[in-house]
Structure formats: C-alpha cells, structure tokens
Symmetry: C2
Subunit: 482 residues, 2 copies
C-alpha cells in the first residue's frame, strides 16, 4: 500500500505549518486515506490498529465496571429527535436523512444516528419496569455520522467510530456516581495508556451536550496549543426519561422516571495521540498503544550477517515470549540508516541494534524513539532492559506532554490579556468567568477561544470575569479547539 | 431487562410451529428486541455477546492468515454501483439512499453500503501500484444495510453486522487459493466452534454473488429442514479490478489487472446457531461460544446453605482458574427447580449441582444441557470432569446436528420426487442438474426449493437433470432456505 505514503516526500516541520505536519505525518505513516465521500476517511490498517488497541483496553475497563455491550439500529426515525427539545436543536443541523429505500420513498425520513440517546431511550422505556432492572449499564461500539462543515482526518470526520455508553439509574445520586466513574475511567485511560495528560472538569452550559443536565470532559492540549475534547460523560437527569417515558416501579411501588447518563470517546483520540506526541520525524507512539513496541535491526557487513541475524532471532524470541510486541527488520535490500528513519517516522518506541561488535561484547544497543538516548546493555539482561525502557518511555512521554502543557498555560484577567497571550504564545488560559452566556460568547467572538471546561482542580482561582469584570463564579480554562 | 422475556410465557414446541418456537426462544432468552425501524433489531447484551465471541474467534483466524482490519466509509456514491453491471442489478433494489444532509439536498445520492466491493475497489486502485503491494489482505467489521422485504431476527434484518474480507492478488491462482482458504476457515469455524456441520460447495451461476466469477458457500440445515447460507467466499476475477481500474506493474514491468476476492459471514450465524441446536426447552449453546459454559447451583435445606455455598465457591474458583466461563447462582429467593429450567432455557451447556449429601460423599453432580445425563463425580476430579464433559458436549452437539442432517437428506430424480419429499419430510435433496438456468428456475417455482450449492463432496452422483431429464452436469443440493 504505497500510494499515500509516497505522496509525502518530506514531513513539513511543525514550526512551519502544524496542520501540514499533521497531514504529512498521518499520510506518510499510512494511517488513513481520504475517501470519495465528503468528510469521510478510510482507516487504513496501521491507523485502524490504533483504534483496535483503544477498543480492547477500554472495553476491558467497561466490562470490569459491570457494563455490557449491545447494538442499536443505525437509523433513527426523524420524530424521535423532536422529543427532546435541546437535543433536536443541537443535532438537527448535522443529520443526514435516508428518504428512499428499496426503490420507494419512505413515509418517515430516517436519520443516520449522530448519537443514540433517542433510540436507546425508546428501547429502555420498553425494557425497564422495576427498580430490579436498574441500574441498566450498556455500551455500544458503533459508527455515527455528523455532517460537519469543516473536517480533519481523525479529529473531525463526517462518519466516525466511537463507543457510547448509556445507563439508567434509580436516582440522581447513582446516575451522578456513574457519570463521574466513567469520566475517571477516561482520565485514567488517557493518562496511563495514551500518555496524554488531561484536564478534568465540567462544561459550561453553552458547551454541554444537547439534552444533558451536566456535561463533564477531559481536555488535552495539542502541540500547537489547541485543545481536543478527548472524552465526555453526561448526566442527563430525567430529560430523556421524560421524553421517552423511561419509568420504573420503585422500592415503594411508585412510578418514577429513571435518571440516565451517556458517555463516549471516539476515533478522534487517534488524532489527539498524534498531535500530542508526534514530532518533526513523524509519529511517536506511547508504548502501551504502539502496535509494534520494539523493532530489531541487525547491522554490520554482509560477511557477519548470518551470525548476527541468528542472534537477533534468539533475542527476538525472548522478547516475544515476555509478551513484548516486537518485530525484526532484516531486509538486506535496505540500509540500517533507512530503517532507523522509517521506524522513527512510524513512531516505534524502542529500536534495538545488534552488530558484530555487540556480538563480541555480549551487548546490544537500545535506542529510545522519544529521547534518542542510546543504551548499551548486556544481552543477558536484554528482556528486562527493554521492559524498563518501555516503562520509562511511557513516563517520559507523559512528562513531556505535561511539561509542554504547563509551559503553555497562563492566567489572564481580561479579554485583551487573552488576545495578546494567543498572539504571542499558543495554549490555554485560566480566567475568571461570571457565569453569563453573553460573556462567554464575547470571548469566543473576540478571540476564537472557547471555554474548555471548569476544571475540578484549577491551579489558580480568579476572582473577576475576563469579559465583564464582575465577580467570577468559576475559574474556567479557555483555549482554541479542534 | 424484563419486558421481552416476560412477554413469552411458554415456548411454543418446535413441532407445533417452528417460527414461533424461534421467536419465543430468542425473546425468552433475552437475545434481541424489535426496534421501531422496519426490519432492524436491537442486539441485547445476551445476543450481542454471541457476536462478540464469533468476532474474537474469527478475527484471530483472519490475523493468523495474514489479514489486517481496516474501515471504509458507510456511504457509497450512487455512481459507484453503476460501474459493475451485475453488481448494480443485484444490489440496487435493496439500497437505501441518503438524499439530504446538513439541511441541504445532496448533489449525488449516497447509498448506505450493502457490501463494500465498490468502495474498496476505488481505494485499492489508489493504493496498489506494483506487485510489491500484493497480495493486499484486508478485512472489515462493519454494519451493512439491505432493505429486505421479509425479515426475521438475526437471519435476515435490514441492518446487520458482518465482516467482509477484500483481497487483491497478482493472478487467478493466488486469488483462488485465497477464496478457498477463507471458505475452509469458515467451514472449520462452523464445525469446530459452532458445532454446526456444513456442506461446502460452489453456488450455481444464478445464486452467485452479483459481480463474482465464482461464489462458494457453506450451507447448514436448521431443525425445520430449511437451509441457512452460513458463509460465502467469492472469486471476483478481474470484474471489480476492471470496473475500478485496480492495476499493478507486474514482475515484468507490465500493467495488469488484479484478481480480487471477497468473503463474509454475518450476525445471521446467531440465528443458525439457535435453529440448529435449540430445542423445546429453549436455547442450547455449544460450549465454545457459550458466554456461560457452566452454572453452579447449590441445593439443599437452609440449615446447610452456608456450608454448601462455601464449598461451591471453592469449586467455582478452581474452575475459573482453569479458564472455564462459570457462574454461581446461589440466590436463595429462587428454587433449584426454577433455576434448572432457567439455565436450560438460556442454553448453558453444563449445570453443576452440589447439596449436603454430595458434601458428605465428596462428590458433585454434573448435568449436560443437551443430553440431560447426570454424572456424579469426585470433587477432587471436578475440573477435569467438567472439561471432559464440555469437550464431549461439543462433539455430541455436532454429532446430533450431523445425524439430523443425514436423516433429512434424500436423493431425487424428478421435480415430482422433490415435491413429495418436501411434503412428507423436511430437508435437503441431492439431484442431478443439467446446468441450465431455466431448469433451476423451474425447480424453484414448482417447489420453493433453491439450489444451495454444488457440493465439493456429494455423497451420491446423479446422472440426469431433475427438471428436463437430460444428462446431468452436476449433482446439486436443493432445499428451501431462509
């Protein structure tokens, strides 16, 4: 599969044009292709494999917390969207509609799901009768479609892949506990699996999910200082329960509306992963998600090749046995230098080199993708040294991303401050906010920055609103976002 | 999730009304719900879990044979279907079209994929340049839509889940090898995982995939004698390569068209699984796919409960440690008899009973779902005896299904023979066929039976065509089908 890759000769440096760097990188690493359908991409095997690893890891965490998977229809009758007022306003502009099928015009137009609260709500009303049916904890892995005006591979595509959890509970307390539990799973997953530090917090009313009472998010900073909302968890109150009549007989034999939640992450995580860790050499994948964690490259002249390759194969077998995802590239038609560049561009966390001199000395060379550090280690400590370097690499990547974010956060008192911050430096700011939609809208209009969230643990507390100067109700993180 | 289950009081006996038995069974076992969208079902957790197990097992087999997963868009421009003449004729009547999106009428209508040969063909033309890019071995797990007139849960739904493999090769020989390899993977999977015996063979021209040169299938017999096509593998020749311009520079530096294949199985396998193994007590799941392989039920009076439960927990831990999917039901509010029925209805392959007398004797009782046989075994041989019974259960279920099929296969010489066979007995027949479409169509019209396939290994060879009486070209399996 050569075309997309060959399309990019050199990766544009990040400092020159970050967007071009991103596209060059994902093309050259062969992660995706543009498709002939507007705003839809093809996930090529190297890109899709990242999603498979995300799925595997999250699915395990969902199941450990008692959730089960199900599958709901792609099509949603148009009338369903009318039942929840905010929901229809939020999603209607982005809906594609099926109007004909099997050669006939449909009586009711069918929307392609942008999210499934309405369909799930309809079914839950049928399934839930009693408190004994609660909590109902279901997740779905699915494709969804939102007809976006501006798209960007992985980060914003018309069709994307995601998971959407939908749960129903006896009361607010239990539903809120679930909402927070899932947000915490997303935070833990982002930080400890993807090595992406995130800011946890609550969305402002104007940025919350259409139909939610409260929306919570994890927000990540890309290397161009822009934000990616990396996961959201919504407490929906009884909004969808009332709209779809999801009722149950409680322990006192009274009819009650359920309290529901929903939560999701999508293939945009792949985009975030690339923009947080990548550099001018291309992709840099954190070890836990990297499909290939270690690439082994034999070096040296032709006359020692056989002997070196044999030893590489032995070490490979040891590593494989220890559960490390490792490959060997002993293709004699490519130079070691070419291979070094290739696997750096593909983001393989650790490279192993072995040549005749290393053979003589009973050693092997480990090279870190992210730091470039070379470690000469004894062959009889090979497996543990590789594992150690992988563990350190995860931590190093997280620390670097965290340091970058900390270096690109400021606090501002006024919209003018925010403007000059965004002119001089990329990043997020902490600012006070009075709580009015008007002030938030003014910030957006004048600076292009939106409220990311109201962080649970802000590093500073601001006392006045950056827009109107009145007393601040919250300290908010603002930033430009994808 | 009580509603669907409570809906069914008693499962209708198979002999009374097989279709009602089927619907009763899948409702009572809580596998699905009807959705508000015509012909689309909701896969509830207990149903979806069967699909998850199918996915896990097949995905492993695909990857072991060098395939990788990717993801192509849901939407396919209408014009793509025009490019392959047979393909458009076969699929156009079943296509739903998106005509509006984001509040605007689309310039070109977008079909919802019924299968992805066209989109894949378009992309492969872009990706493949040289013989070095071949073979290209890709699979996709996805939802597809075919606007069916008559639907049946799992077996035929407007939207369904499936995998579709798409591969491109240098020449016919390599593509045909792939086609056969994947068919063999399906056969092995059906027989050794699902315990469903299948007939491998080639589809007649009128039953082949629209756009294929040759289609091969595995066909299974349900307990009502009807057929389910359980998997297909297509050699597409250069049909799609010519239509979409999938060319490569060969080893002699000449431009050549690729030879392509596609192959798939879908959620209809869940329907087949139920109709092959289920009985009047409900589901019967083969051990390898059963989400719960063993249910443990403590019995006896309240006064020994604590002691018995403690021992059950110990034995449970042993079984779990050995990798068996086991659960305990020690709910004191339900009687053992109720539980026995419940888990039989749900198809759990093995039940374990432990009571005070068993405690005294150091023994435990194993009960087979499929045969009803009770085995009293020593507790210190518990794990191995359970594993043995699970292995035997798989074999027993396969053997029963095979015996049923053999008992319901006949050979016929004429259409009249076939008619009277179908009136007296359910099942498949072997018959000679001259090779003409007209004769095949006549059989279908007069009997409702279609050619299932031309088996690779027919048990008999017939010399004359059942319709025209001329010399037979092939021995064909005919049967009514879902």
């Amino acid at each position: 599969m050569s075309n997309d890759k060959q399309f990019v000769k050199e990766i544009t440096p990040q400092s020159e044009d970050f967007s071009r760097w991103y596209i060059d990188t994902i093309k050259k690493a062969d992660l995706m292709s543009y498709s002939p359908v507007r705003g839809c991409i093809v996930f090529k095997p190297d890109g899709y494999e990242l999603w498979e690893n995300i799925q595997k890891e999250l699915d395990r965490r969902f199941k450990e917390t008692g959730h089960r998977n199900a599958y709901f229809p792609l099509f949603i009758p148009e009338s369903f969207f009318q039942k929840e007022k905010e929901h229809v306003e939020g999603f209607n502009p982005e809906l594609p509609f099926v109007t004909e099928a099997g050669g006939e015009k449909l009586e009711e137009r069918l929307a392609i799901r942008p999210t499934s609260e309405t369909m799930v709500g309809h079914m839950y009303a049928e399934w839930i009768q009693s408190y004994r049916d609660l909590p109902l904890l279901i997740n779905q892995w699915a494709n969804v479609v939102r007809w976006e005006k501006r798209t960007m591979p992985f980060l914003r595509t018309s069709e994307f892949l995601w998971q959407e959890g939908h749960t129903a509970h006896e009361d607010e307390a239990d539903a809120r506990k679930e909402t927070m539990q899932m947000l915490e799973i997303y935070r833990d997953f982002a930080e400890n699996y993807l090595a992406i530090p995130v800011i946890m917090g609550q969305k402002t009313p104007s940025e919350k999910f259409a139909g939610a009472v409260d929306t919570f998010s994890i927000e990540a900073m890309m290397k161009d200082g822009k934000a990616v909302q990396a996961g959201t968890s919504h407490y929906l109150g009884t909004n969808f329960a009332v709209a779809f009549d999801i009722k149950f007989l409680d322990r006192e034999n009274q009819q009650q509306f359920c309290h529901t939640t929903s939560w999701g992450v999508s293939t945009r995580l792949i985009g975030a992963l690339i923009m947080v860790h990548g550099d001018d050499r291309g992709l840099a994948l954190p070890p836990k998600i990297a499909p290939t964690q270690v690439v082994m490259i034999p070096i040296g002249p032709a006359k020692t090749r056989e002997q070196v390759n044999a030893r590489v194969r032995e070490l490979y077998a040891e590593l494989k046995k220890a559960g490390v995802r490792v490959m060997v590239d002993d293709d004699p038609s490519q130079s070691p230098g070419w291979k070094f560049n290739e696997y750096e561009m593909r983001g393989v966390p650790v490279r192993v080199e072995l040549g005749p001199r290393d053979m003589d000395n009973g050693q092997v060379v480990l090279v870190s993708r992210i730091t470039g550090e070379k470690r000469i280690v004894a062959q009889d400590r090979f497996v543990e040294e590789v594992q150690k370097l992988l563990t350190e690499t995860h931590q190093e990547m997280y620390d670097r991303a965290k340091r970058f974010r900390d270096d690109h956060m400021a606090q501002v008192d006024t919209i003018e401050d925010l403007k000059s911050f965004l002119e001089q430096k990329r990043g997020f700011v902490y600012a006070g906010w009075c709580g009015s939609n008007a002030c938030e809208a003014q910030v957006k209009e004048e600076t292009g920055a939106t409220s990311r969230n109201i962080p649970f643990e802000p590093e500073v507390h601001k006392s006045t609103c950056l827009a109107c100067g009145e007393a601040a109700k919250h300290t908010v993180v603002f930033g430009r976002a994808y």
